[in-house]
Symmetry: D2
Subunit: 383 residues, 4 copies
Amino acid sequence: MRERPDPIRLGMVGGGAGAFIGAVHRTAARLDGNYTLLAGALSSQPERALASARDLGLPRGYDSWEAMLEGERALPEGQRIEAVSIVTPNHMHYPVARAFADAGFHVICDKPLVHSSEQAAELVRLARQRGIVFGVTYNYTGYPMVMEARRRIDEGSLGALRKVIVEYNQGWLATKLEDSGSNKQSEWRTDPARSGIGGAIGDIGSHAENLASAVTGLQLEALCADLTTFVPGRRLDDDANVLLRFAGGARGVLIASQIEVGEENDLRIRVYGERGSLTWHQEDPNALILKTLDGPTQILTRGNAYLGPRASAATRTPPGHPEAFLEAFGNIYTALADAIRGDADARYPSVADGARGVHFIEATVASAASDQKWTPAHYAPEA
Amino acid sequence: MRERPDPIRLGMVGGGAGAFIGAVHRTAARLDGNYTLLAGALSSQPERALASARDLGLPRGYDSWEAMLEGERALPEGQRIEAVSIVTPNHMHYPVARAFADAGFHVICDKPLVHSSEQAAELVRLARQRGIVFGVTYNYTGYPMVMEARRRIDEGSLGALRKVIVEYNQGWLATKLEDSGSNKQSEWRTDPARSGIGGAIGDIGSHAENLASAVTGLQLEALCADLTTFVPGRRLDDDANVLLRFAGGARGVLIASQIEVGEENDLRIRVYGERGSLTWHQEDPNALILKTLDGPTQILTRGNAYLGPRASAATRTPPGHPEAFLEAFGNIYTALADAIRGDADARYPSVADGARGVHFIEATVASAASDQKWTPAHYAPEA
Amino acid sequence: MRERPDPIRLGMVGGGAGAFIGAVHRTAARLDGNYTLLAGALSSQPERALASARDLGLPRGYDSWEAMLEGERALPEGQRIEAVSIVTPNHMHYPVARAFADAGFHVICDKPLVHSSEQAAELVRLARQRGIVFGVTYNYTGYPMVMEARRRIDEGSLGALRKVIVEYNQGWLATKLEDSGSNKQSEWRTDPARSGIGGAIGDIGSHAENLASAVTGLQLEALCADLTTFVPGRRLDDDANVLLRFAGGARGVLIASQIEVGEENDLRIRVYGERGSLTWHQEDPNALILKTLDGPTQILTRGNAYLGPRASAATRTPPGHPEAFLEAFGNIYTALADAIRGDADARYPSVADGARGVHFIEATVASAASDQKWTPAHYAPEA
Amino acid sequence: MRERPDPIRLGMVGGGAGAFIGAVHRTAARLDGNYTLLAGALSSQPERALASARDLGLPRGYDSWEAMLEGERALPEGQRIEAVSIVTPNHMHYPVARAFADAGFHVICDKPLVHSSEQAAELVRLARQRGIVFGVTYNYTGYPMVMEARRRIDEGSLGALRKVIVEYNQGWLATKLEDSGSNKQSEWRTDPARSGIGGAIGDIGSHAENLASAVTGLQLEALCADLTTFVPGRRLDDDANVLLRFAGGARGVLIASQIEVGEENDLRIRVYGERGSLTWHQEDPNALILKTLDGPTQILTRGNAYLGPRASAATRTPPGHPEAFLEAFGNIYTALADAIRGDADARYPSVADGARGVHFIEATVASAASDQKWTPAHYAPEA
């Protein structure tokens, strides 16, 4: 348990009453005691924003993010927020993140980062220029066994990597939920104006891309995507199947779907190398399966002494006391707190990871519209 | 996510640097934002107590629980703590709990409650007399799917219950860890002076008894216990196998062991009725398995609409976003917060559950020493 | 695949139309091509016996086992059957086995062997005297991973054994199926005249006892049994929970039930030693789980090179091509064929194992009726 | 258990000493007592062919398949074989099958059927013309739960199908096993002259295609394949990832690999429809997972009364007594026996299924060589 006495002063944009992800961010921030939530512009509707702030007992509620930016800048340094969490629908990420980053606040932004690679590049540039910490909550990389997978791959346990199969299977959009009038999530996530050009591929395919990158370190080179909209009348893809080619010769498959009936939040990855393989599954996150050429399958479990330092440091409880989604999300927040406090070794999904994710979405959408087999998908952040 | 603006003022006794369960309690208290930890006497060693309080940034650190009791009583009502969490080794539960309860503070005490049924009866009496909330952190009943199991049984889905198999399998004490000099947990838990008369049966058998009771509502009538100390030189049992007989004719088996090599925290329960059965496993806590006379096995999972109101209210995230040990522990703290705020419907493991647990430990130890097959084990709280 | 050109001439008593286990025995005998079924007295009803023999195309159908014994004895040595499989309800095992053994035929008898330990002792004596092979189809020990478990224990991988948990969970008798008029199995198995003094404890508890013995080699010393008849009107136990004490200090629990709704054929065993543990589950029989003090859990799977010679020899297909119930049963038949052909190293469940099983049933029934905690259960075959 | 008195007279080409699949075919043929193996040309090497026949005790051993064809034709009708099993390396399937089919023998041929779609079309034509039964041992469709999956889809339980994910994951060719000198399997399977144009895609991708077709009934329309040879020096693909498009709009992914370290024989399929989904896994073949829009996940298990007639008829033992690879293979043989005996309702993988498989292999290899995204893959058997 990592508990520290001096919490970071945090503000939040979005995440008012009824939003799912805002509460997750607040719990993640609270989990290890590293943050204190002092300010919020929790909705795009002024009345609702203020009411939500009151309900949560926030010291400083604002009726718009612009008002919050102005208000906080006007406070003395020791009082104003140090970092802002942006948990709005996607289309608001860019203006809010740019403004707060430009003003020197640290930024924690939900994924996918923004709507276009141009916007992403601008944020990467700005974050570097202002010297701020800018994290993107690809939360699944916060699981200790994901960290352990990367460690073992980096140490060469698998030999050269050959193949990656990454899947994100969901079924909650198998019907036209966005027409039910009772599910805000589905409304904005299927609306191109707010969600961006990607449906399932943007919402969860982006997580899958990030997980594959975080676990393997491989660079994507080209892809071939088949995007489908199965639910009649829906305006964005709800199913994506993608062939992947990585620099160095590794191949892969990425599956992301929101119409696979009965699948809950089935994110999983398999990585095959010359000498071994690793399997991880988000719905059973405390285990990492290791297979080798000759020996028995091994089940590595969180909390044991045979794991590496990062997986151990990201662990709060002993083996068999499962940690899960909120703890992994909390690990991202804690790593960001470390970074904000100056720890140069802190690792978290950065604005560059976010930019690569946006690039990936653009490449899949372009590929889906193309008759050409392979669409280049290399992400090269500008020097 | 249940977030409320007015946190309850909490103090803590025990749980300083190096303790496992103290940090768990603090995280559980923090998780939903229902408590603010203001005071602590975190160690029996004064220096260490004060240092730990400083490290955690507690507003009011005390060098002993007596000093804390005195200090807090002296504060104005709106400032002093409202509740105290007791997370010391077992032998300190009674004096601390009695003193704070007597002074009218709400009490949250770790398990097993106390060393003897006389002490337990005294606390039950005192809690009633003072009108305080007194919870015992049988944390596993905080899992939503445990609540759902009870609901289905109460609704008669299984018909009359026939058999209960409850197990708590651990292996961490398969060697003489208490002699390693580096594991405080094992030292006091294997020391009768601090742990009480039960070893494995007290530490985790008590959890198993509580889980069986919470899930089934059955009253234990008699038991037949075989307690063993496998590790040479250990002074308390490290393995327990118990036959159970319940009022009304149901039978059962309880297994609790800390020498089962490789088992991590394998608490599980199976309940068989005339028409159906339920299985739950702590290491895979988001699922509840339902079997019936004729149909396919069903896997019920946390977060779905087909679950009852208690399981739903104890859930923070959608299906497939696993919640785990800390969230279940947090659910106990949140239910206690509800109770402290006056919610008469709040359900949590109470001081009476704690007393029944102590009674159970005494009965197993007596049975183990007896040549008689059945030892009465009925717990009748005094009227 | 073990295929041999000279099949053993086999006869069968019992196993006519509608019987479950007769067809299993025939398939097991046929699987590796080691037997040819030439003669049968397949029912106690003469007409039915002859009709069943015709339906199966048996060269020599008899209307009673006595007629078969006489008829086969009258044939020249190279034509008459060499071995007989006895697959009748339990009460017929003894007279048939005794008569055929006495006449010098090899005997393959279903379990439990007979109704009393006196009968069992007589068969043990007779088999030795006549120099015949006498196997009892405790078929579950025919699984390769069960053999591997024993090998690893014999080699000391687990260190000294401390604890055994063996379970046989079924639910098919949760209702009064024997009154349905359509289930022969349930009729004779719940009838003391045909089944013997044990219900669930005899039918499947006996399998559990045998599995524990086969895997661990431990000698049972004493037991404490709680037998229950849950279904009203049933005349034998349908649920058994038993505490076990082994020579040398190991302890155990045996659970056998036929009223656990929804359980199919859930035979499983866990063995814990000082340094490791092994888990095996009949419904997932190609895996053996190995846990150690410090390393990751290992999943050993059938067909791999790291397994010992017996498990390998009992395997027909490569890893991942699952083998199951019939193959394990076939392994018993094949080992018996090896023994009949003179292989002194062939291992199979013998008449002595059958006698020990009968002794176990008697001890549990005696214990269940006793107020004394421990009932002696040591089986000492006469020298 | 389906036992019949009048076995079909069977011959075998290939499958001598050291071959894996020959013994599997013989066991499958023997399992239900439907065949008697009378003749064999078990190797392409005359000496070896005769020795193998002797070792197996075959009444009529031949030194070549041509000799066997001639010899059997010369026998009287009631003595000569009725059917021939062809279990040679792939390149011999065509000449042998054509000759025996042409002579009016029923043919049971291993997969993939032949090397080219022209050869396949010829066999389809010939089988029709001669009126023979011609089966191709796509053995995995012999599993009862695969049959049940098809039944539920046909009955509309899932609604219109949207997506199919079928995988066949193996790792046994992750190293250059074909150079070891001790593994015949790997030698011919990686040799284009004997195996054909497909490596992994032909050997196991073909099984995956067949399973998807058997379970869903969907017609493939186009595909996009990425075939890779990972092991240096190997001459055929050892890894295949394929996007699928079906007539009617369903989409899919097919993965077939033999370099996925540690995977044994991991064939699995997931089918998603508008209202439900089904999952089946060959290494856990007795279960079929059914998910729906609103209810709990259901685990359907072999042997239960809620299953359909085909799954029930293909079942030998009660629930929980697992049946596996050999039983499923045996079910194909038994269905072929039914067909040979004139049962018009018998269902088995036919020569047309084999031809479609060859067509699929050709389409994937063509797609892998193409820059065009989609390669037509519709199989239209000539009228």
